[in-house]
């Protein structure tokens, strides 16, 4: 079996070193790709359960949910979506560079991806700070809640924190892994032994973006409309 699933053939000197328990490199690549997709299924269901809770909250408390959603920082959320779409581009570029064997360009694209991820987290942190100063943290027992007159608004706002913190944890882990991998990928010979790490990691990064692409409208956008 050849690398039929790759668009264009890998450049010379780019490939994967076979681990002892695999019969062939093709088998090893296939296992890695299937493995990350299986993992991404679990990620999707993890977040979807939270989105389901958001949907039920909307069904049971429509007015309170709309009031809560309109208090979220819509423009910061939108900016952060742009940031992550940019990081998806740099990640795609890193994958293409790895296939072309352009190691230095790949490393730079990976660093750019990590930087954009970090920018997302910084903006997210600023957003939390803005939420805090506007009394939009109902889970803090000793702090008054802006929407106290509609108690059910608390549900959606708190759910927003659970979902965004969970996403931020995934992004933080992703950045840490990416930096670790960049450090290894900068060494000579990396692309001849572990090129598929970049591809597999890229799938994870794209998927974390995809989760945000879902979370942004579900939390910030669709519930603005009554």
């Amino acid at each position: 079996m050849s690398e039929s699933f790759v668009n264009e053939p890998l450049a010379d000197g780019v490939g994967v070193a076979r681990a002892h328990h695999f019969e062939s490199v093709a088998q090893q690549r296939e296992a890695a790709t299937l493995g990350i997709w299986a993992w991404l299924i679990t990620e999707l269901l993890l977040f979807s359960a939270l989105f389901l809770v958001a949907l039920i909250t909307r069904i049971q408390h429509p007015e309170a949910t709309v009031a809560a959603a309109r208090h979220l920082k819509f423009w910061i959320g939108a900016t952060n979506t742009v940031v992550l779409i940019c990081s998806s581009l740099t990640m795609s570029m890193a994958i293409e560079f790895s296939r072309m064997g352009w190691q230095r360009a790949m490393v730079r694209a990976m660093l750019a991806t990590a930087a954009l991820g970090a920018l997302f987290l910084v903006l997210k942190g600023y957003e939390y700070y803005a939420d805090w100063s506007e009394h939009m943290m109902p889970f803090l027992a000793d702090r008054p809640f802006e929407l106290a007159e509609t108690p059910a608004a608390r549900l959606f706002v708190n759910l927003y924190y659970v979902a965004t913190v969970l996403h931020a944890v995934h992004l933080f882990t992703g950045i840490a892994l990416l930096l670790g991998m960049t450090w290894m990928a900068a060494k000579a010979g990396f692309l001849s032994r572990h090129q598929n790490w970049i591809e597999v990691y890229g799938l994870y990064w794209h998927f974390i973006d995809l989760v945000w692409i879902l979370a942004f409208p579900i939390l910030y956008v669709v519930n603005r409309a009554t």
């Binding site: 299937l34 999707l44 979807s48 069904i59 819509f74 779409i85 293409e96 360009a105 794209h206």
Partner: protein, 103 residues
């Protein structure tokens, strides 16, 4: 970017352009779709705008899966797995709604 690109041969530039075409086009498509959704969300032009917003999100998700994550180039098994999770989300949401929409 002019600096590093200047050192490339014409052949390399052509390769680069060929390789980067899809990611850049996807990037632009995603940004435009996001712009549509942000506009809809900020202006709330008509009732039930959420339905259109969700449709736009559906297109964005499909773009990321099929193009950025290259599902369209993968063998059938990977395609199956990329869709399996979404199918199961439908089961979860659908069966739960038999309760909440009928209370």
């Amino acid at each position: 970017m002019r600096g590093p690109l200047a050192s490339l041969t014409a052949d390399d530039r052509a390769r680069l352009r060929r390789r980067m075409r899809t990611p850049v086009l996807t990037f632009l498509a995603l940004l435009s779709l996001l712009a549509v959704n942000v506009t809809l969300g900020a202006t709330l032009p008509f009732a039930h705008v959420w339905a259109l917003e969700i449709a736009v999100v559906g297109v964005m998700v499909a773009l990321i899966l099929l193009v950025s994550m290259e599902v369209r180039k993968e063998p059938p098994l990977i395609r199956l797995f990329s869709g399996l999770g979404f199918f199961w989300v439908c089961i979860m949401v659908g069966m739960t709604l038999t309760d909440y929409l009928a209370r």
